[in-house]
């Protein structure tokens, strides 16, 4: 007879953990979800806010927001996408409030010429040395930063990014293109025409 082995909590899928938390109201299920995503959420907060203290507070607020809205999670996207979208939106709101910064996207800044609709290859960003990439990303408007992080870190599809931002696919494509152009412009301002190389 095969022995019945109890499934470990860490083996549960996100959906199973959510369903069990909502049914039993037992925080041990939420603890597993927290441990699964805290690192990623914290890293995104640091990248967006560039301050560890603020990132800590933001991570705490984001997870409480996630807890209080678990019943509203409809599984239209994966749980990770949902959590990350809360994270990006929270950080953008925080930046907007603290810095009173209305300029979220390159289009708002208007530094990139509207005449250049040339699609830059992904290699423009993906082949940058890491420390240079960090400096370039830090100088991007928060909306552009978030959209590039969704694309290159979370590997989200254009449609998923559109769902997160509440925009159409063509608007997102345009924003990605503008963000890449701006990143290249910042790179050239910082490093001149030094070739972009993976470090």
């Amino acid at each position: 007879m095969t022995p019945v082995v109890a499934k470990k909590l860490t083996d549960y899928t996100d959906s199973e953990l959510i369903a069990r938390y909502l049914r039993d109201q037992n925080t041990m299920y939420f603890t597993v979800l927290y441990r699964r995503y805290a690192g990623k959420v914290f890293a995104k907060c640091i990248s967006m806010l560039a301050d560890e203290g603020q990132a800590r507070d933001a991570t705490q607020d984001i997870f409480i927001k996630v807890l209080l809205n678990l019943a509203k999670f409809t599984e239209q996207s994966s749980f990770s996408t949902w959590v990350y979208s809360i994270t990006y939106n929270y950080c953008i709101d925080m930046i907007r409030k603290k810095k009173k910064m209305p300029l979220l996207f390159t289009e708002d800044v208007g530094k990139v010429s509207n005449e250049t609709n040339e699609e830059l290859p992904d290699s423009v960003l993906l082949e940058m040395k890491q420390e240079r990439l960090e400096k370039v990303i830090d100088r991007l408007p928060p909306g552009d930063k978030a959209i590039l992080m969704m694309k290159y870190i979370d590997d989200l599809q254009i449609k998923e990014i559109g769902d997160v931002q509440g925009k159409t696919e063509s608007a997102i494509k345009m924003q990605i293109m503008r963000a890449k152009q701006r990143a290249q412009l910042i790179y050239e301002e910082l490093y001149g025409h030094d070739p972009i190389e993976q470090g």
Binding site: Y34, A38, Q60, L133
Partner: protein, 83 residues
């Protein structure tokens, strides 16, 4: 294999350990508060409804005083040993 973005991101993934305590403590508080609300709010709303002249919501107790008489003698009044 991680690209340079993902590599950059993974450098920040070490969460301060005290953060887990803070988050989970708050989560436990909210969960406990949610349970309290779930238990008391319907009764409190029922009481308010009665006070302003409305009808109290149906109570789940079936055999206590005030329960509909489906039999001659409500079950709670049957002396022990009569079954």
């Amino acid at each position: 294999m991680k690209n340079n973005f993902q590599q950059w991101q993974s450098d920040f993934e070490r969460v301060p350990p005290e953060l887990e305590d803070r988050v989970l403590q708050q989560a436990r508080t909210f969960t406990a508060f949610g349970k309290v609300v779930e238990v008391f709010v319907p009764n409190a709303l029922g009481a308010v409804a009665l006070m302003i002249g409305g009808e109290a919501p149906d109570r789940p107790v079936q055999n206590g005083p005030g329960a509909p008489f489906e039999e001659d003698i409500p079950l709670w009044r049957i002396p022990p040993g009569r079954y």
